[in-house]
Symmetry: C2
Subunit: 415 residues, 2 copies
Amino acid sequence: MNRIRASIITIGDELLIGQTIDTNSAWMGTRLNDAGIWVQRRVAVGDDRQAILSALEEESAKSKVVLITGGLGPTADDITKPTLLEYFGGKMVRDEATYTRVMGFFESRGLPVLERNVAQAMVPDSCAVLQNLRGTAPGMWFEKNDVIFVSLPGVPFEMKGLMENEVIPRLRERFHTPALLHQTLITSGMGESFVAERIRDFEAAMPAHIKLAYLPSYGLLKLRLTTEAPDKITAAAEMKDAHQALKSLVADILVAEQDLPMGVILGNILLEKGLTAGTAESCTGGRIASQITTVPGSSRYFKGSVVSYANETKTSVLRVSPETIRQHGAVSEQTVREMAEGALAVLNVDCVMAVSGIMGPDGGTDEKPVGTVWIAVGGKENIRTMRYHFRYDRARNTEMTAIAAMNELRKWLVG
Amino acid sequence: MNRIRASIITIGDELLIGQTIDTNSAWMGTRLNDAGIWVQRRVAVGDDRQAILSALEEESAKSKVVLITGGLGPTADDITKPTLLEYFGGKMVRDEATYTRVMGFFESRGLPVLERNVAQAMVPDSCAVLQNLRGTAPGMWFEKNDVIFVSLPGVPFEMKGLMENEVIPRLRERFHTPALLHQTLITSGMGESFVAERIRDFEAAMPAHIKLAYLPSYGLLKLRLTTEAPDKITAAAEMKDAHQALKSLVADILVAEQDLPMGVILGNILLEKGLTAGTAESCTGGRIASQITTVPGSSRYFKGSVVSYANETKTSVLRVSPETIRQHGAVSEQTVREMAEGALAVLNVDCVMAVSGIMGPDGGTDEKPVGTVWIAVGGKENIRTMRYHFRYDRARNTEMTAIAAMNELRKWLVG
């Protein structure tokens, strides 16, 4: 099949020394896949002329499309543009549309325009300029030896605007790509190897052009099917069959039929049932509420949270009895149950999640080691409690707790 | 200078199609830098034999150290191990220490041991095995043509354990590396190009082996100095001078002298002043509390948060007057001030942040467009309010609001 292959080159020392996590590549990968373009390599290099030149040379030998982000700012460490000029040839010229935008950008903010800002409008005349409506650095589209190169700013918000408005539409127009479909099922409660054992026959019988991948993710297991076909209709039909078959094999451990964040999965159920929810969070410190409210429109079903990090807040705001905490401790079934009861009353919601645990690195005891978590979920008539024990570091324990709590409320709602 | 160069290869289709954000590489980059090893390239490839073989070949031609993560699980899509066997030669043998650990892992959890789990203990006899104390897939250390290759599991928690316990100590032992130092200043309130203009003379006068980078980050600007010297003492002395000089040039806009998350910067000030804090969050949905409680020991100064996503929660828990909301709206100076006052009383803390805004994509009006945010910070006698207007998407608006609120409380505390 005529697969269009792409490489993504990200530029910046901050990516190599670990100061910045590269979120751009993942986002770009998703969008390119949607357009039927297969990202086969992602390469990060530093702010170094020779490293950039090598990467351009090597990736264009492998891929038909090379997307480049970063190094386009107005300061001396931003060397992408002169390096592109060197690689593609030509001379620097002023792009009038960019110039007008840059001037307007600073004028509208009442700021003076510096020479280095004006320089943002200078581009190699060997490129087609893509207008960046969200910032001052323009996108640049080059072609050389039948390979397309697109240089984009590294600021995610600006890169995304250019990808959506300019790059993806132009690539779609250029290539007649095969349809590339991914679909993911999410399961919980069974380890990767046991799931693999259970679906062994299904996996063995899959046609060669359908791929199955196992992705463990914070106590969940994602099963991703990928199929490729000459057209969308064929791909969708094949995917539907494989997805149905796989789904029926994991029905008892199924969390969701698509790869959605747990906050979205839970939100959809609440919306469908017309119920409101809230949280009482101790050890997760607001992380559950934060994940739920990431979703636009979550105010339709989420009313709020009491982050009771201090015991005093548990008693004063959530009305947990001081006697309960004294007798059983803040991390106990009794306390988390009273937190849930308190949240139901104080937030006036239909259902809640309450969590209390020891995330580490300190605070553990023999009886309640680091990673011990009590969770309560439910509504006024029916609160369910459960104990978890995570064996990770603080950040991972917190994330695992947030996802486990949302998953437990999900089970309570659908069960 | 004898710079040891490294490449990181990450393996997995999920990285290319955008299903997973690669956080491993950034973490590994930081640790390798601390050990004086310069990561010059990071490459992500799919679960594809030929792509892995090419990456091993190409990166080992450029780097002395090649670290590889991912593709070591127990399922059929995990092809890293057979590919390494093919590349390095030898035959598969059972590693007894790993076998014992795998058996113990399943026994201690009361799970049966499957054949595919036992296979985790099979390794090429061309490698030295690194024991993974946090999971079943072992680390593998190969050497070929004077290049070191280390294969590690992709699960971040397991990879980190192996890096800290095995890989970094062995690399330190092997190489006498030059000292590589990074130090970052954080500023706020002035754009990248204006800061560059102000420190232009400093930048022009810097010796060639000191580098300065500009990293805009959610309304802040990070200035990173990098220096390299034959030994730590020289490097530290050079860094101290450059850092002092730069600091004095940006004293009026300085947020922090190190690259720390805003939750840590704020926490350190609270701890030093012996004050307690809390938050009242509407549009940020718990994100501020979550960032503050990411820090171990934050319970010493952070007591909790009321996430009042619904107006009803603002009035019932935070005691905002319904009349205030009716008259001025939930996103207003008056409401956010009453939220702050309410949080001070309800959470019984010395100081608070309160935020209310419209994060988008919906909910904006002509008078209060998407991105409008009111913030209140302060203590009982002195609450300060300010209006922000962010022009981004929902996720970025939320993150900008959280950081702005923490920065405003920081200014209030030190001002």
